[in-house]
């Protein structure tokens, strides 16, 4: 990027004949080195000064330092976690790990849903129906111009307006909607399910191999063998067969109202639901615009040309339009995914226990502010870097190959 503009003085045509670095102020290279040393020196000095202050302050105020607290029993209760947790036994370290998992749970689900909803909106904005396109436009405008925090508080308020467990909505057998969240039945997980899952993984690999073979055959003979029957067999039939061979165990755990709350089944808590809903609704308004401009960026001539060489419209979309649109869409989309992840830190305002919320409770109970914040920063930097890395890899894969 920075290479886009090259100082002509440095271009080979005009470069001065190579000579040693002269210690004179008129030599630009010498000047540059002096400047850099000065700037770096100043910054190092400032950092050194701050570190000195901090260690003096910590000592003077008798505040404990170090990460030893991670190994101490936490004692803080945690509302929802993906792994087992007992405040009496488990440590602050595990509490923070739960926070991290909770953050990831919101981020992953949020990214998927926001992409779907944003794409729907983006397409709706291009609809020929005036009402649909106007509605989508109004949605985008309104949602973007109101702070996310306010929206989260609002969604949380809405979800709390649901009826109490006793009078909960009961749209499907085993599904309950109340102000305690959404309850739904889960299949009791047993050994054969793992085997079926393994079979599914094999099936995916098989399908990928077959579709590659099909593509090669198409190139050679011009006729593409059918892919979907094989895919169906490998992705659905094979895992079912494995599961059936192992006795086909199937038991559903139904939620039931017992005492105060539902027991059994799985729960989506109102905090999680409000946070995910808020993030999806908000981020989708940005994704919609990205998708829209991505689609508009592909000239209509591409559709027409695809049709002219006799391709079906679904093939044109898949093979011609989408790859081009994606090239425009992916980079800004990456930033939206990063934003969604970073914005999930607002969980702290509505009581979802993400990594920021647990770290802030931890730093409050232990008094160790620096360590707590350092933990948050490391987590987010790691997440940001992995998302950037993944999306860059994907972007490079779909990038135009220039021959």
């Amino acid at each position: 990027m920075s290479g886009a503009v090259v100082d002509p003085r440095l271009s080979p045509a005009r470069a001065a004949p190579k000579k040693g670095l002269s210690l004179s102020w008129s030599d630009p290279r010498f000047r540059n080195i002096v400047w850099q040393v000065l700037i770096l020196g100043t910054i190092t000095a400032i950092v050194w000064y701050l570190v000195q202050n901090t260690s003096r302050n910590l000592a003077a105020r008798r505040i404990a330092t170090g990460f030893a607290f991670l190994g101490r029993t936490a004692g803080i209760p945690i509302g929802e976690s993906l792994i087992d947790y007992d405040p009496a036994i488990n440590t602050y370290g595990r509490a923070l790990l739960i926070g991290l998992l909770n953050t990831l749970k919101v981020a992953v689900v949020g990214v998927v849903l926001a992409t779907i909803w944003g794409t729907v909106l983006g397409v709706a904005r291009l609809s020929k129906n005036w009402l649909i396109s106007r509605l989508a436009a109004v949605y985008v405008e309104v949602i973007r111009d109101v702070p996310l925090l306010l929206q989260l508080l609002f969604w949380y308020l809405v979800l709390q307006g649901l009826p109490a467990p006793r009078n909960s909505f009961h749209p499907l057998p085993g599904v309950f909607l109340s102000n305690r969240g959404i309850k739904f039945p889960v299949v009791e997980w047993e050994g054969p399910f793992w085997w079926a899952l393994g079979a599914l993984a094999l099936g995916i690999l098989g399908t990928m191999a077959w579709s590659r073979t099909a593509a090669r055959q198409q190139e050679a003979t011009g006729v593409r063998p059918k892919v979907w029957p094989v895919a169906l067999g490998l992705l659905v039939g094979f895992p079912l067969l494995v599961w059936g061979a192992l006795g086909a165990p199937f038991a559903v755990e139904m939620p039931a109202l017992r005492g105060f709350n539902f027991t059994g089944g799985a729960t989506v808590s109102p905090e999680y639901a409000a946070l995910t809903l808020g993030l999806v609704v908000y981020t989708a308004s940005y994704i919609a615009e990205i998708v829209r401009s991505g689609i508009l960026a592909v000239p209509t001539g591409q559709w027409e040309a695809g049709g002219a060489i006799g391709l079906r419209s679904s093939t044109v979309l898949r093979k011609i339009v989408l790859p081009q649109a994606l090239r425009v869409i992916i980079p800004p989309m990456t930033s939206q995914y990063l934003n969604l992840t970073k914005n999930s830190s607002l969980a702290v305002a509505i009581g979802y226990q993400d990594v920021v919320s647990i770290a802030s409770t931890t730093l409050n109970q232990t008094g160790q502010a620096i360590e707590g914040i350092a933990a948050i920063m490391v987590v987010y930097l790691a997440i940001s870097l992995s998302i950037s890395f993944l999306m860059n890899w994907y972007n490079a894969r779909i990038a135009l190959v220039e021959r």
Partner: protein
Amino acid sequence: MSHSTTRTTAALGEAAHDPVPAIAGIPAAPIAAERARPAAGPFAPVAWARANLFNGWLSTAVTLALIYFIARWAIGFFDWAVLHAVWSVPQTDAGPDPSACRDAKGVGACWAMIGDKYRFILFGRYAYEEQWRPAIVIALFIGLYAISAMRRFWRKELLLIWIVALTAIGVLMWGGVGGLAFVPQDSWGGLPITLILSTFGLAFAFPLAVVVALGRRSTELPAVRMLCVLYVELIRGVPLITLLFMASVMFPLFMPEGFNPDKLLRAQVAIILFAGAYLAEVVRGGLQALPKGQYEAADALGLSYWKKTGLIILPQALRLVIPPLVNTFIGFFKDTSLVLIIGIFDLLLAGKVAITDPVWQAYSTELYLVLAVVYFAFCYVMSRYSRGLEQEFRRTARR
């Protein structure tokens, strides 16, 4: 020349939404322009409706369903917000008597809560008798935005206007001179805090951003470039909340003993650092979008780096980045609401504290609606403006 300028805008478009689409919006081409206008005539509306609402049975079904839902919702909302709403409640010696609101709960809105608390929501804990001062400050901010938006004022004098206005705002808020009573920062609150945090944030982050953007593009100072990259990526990699937490609980530990900058100031510094990183990317987009010929021409004239940058590059690049800059500003404006989490009385927290009052505890919906309208009003006007400007730039570039 005309060819290269066209490329400029195209490149800027990309560069601008690549680094900060979070805040910078994608230029929105008006939908209406793409649609063929119906032929004028006595039956134009009918023809238009047939073309745009009822072409085909699916479209008709969707239109009718949408009209039904919108109408139902609108009527319900009207009933709640206007027809059955409680606009005021009687005042008693013990304060307002909310029984009318309590009776209307669930049926009608309780705007009486806003009527009782609007001054607290707008101005927070600012001394009650002196609240005309933050009111003027709000007006000053709006005036400042309006003047900055007018292209006829895009001259060097604008900088002067900003300095004068921001100074006046400081004097009005603090007081302590010319017979104005001193009001410490801790008791500032409400909308002025939101405006101050975002506007001062922009004013101070902007120069920082220009320096960082130049540093990041420097080919001759690799160490400086690394430093700038590190700063930008580090700040953009973490949520604003982390920086605010840092400002709130960590920053005091960094400072020498006895030096305790105020919490508001610390939050302001965090927002400036945050804004600086995002703005730097916006400015870098502008620098990148400038045609190479401009750099070469400046070099051909034998200008030094600073002359080249100050006279040729920056004036053009900064002009180009105004639309994404406004979008970034909208982002900060919304993001200042996060200071609620560290207990600074911005508009949102002032509102939330207002409903902590036992009398008004159950009326969050009304409060959130009013706050949303305030935020929306500011952001909508700004985003409209930036979009208009963007289109204008594109038009002039095509010419």
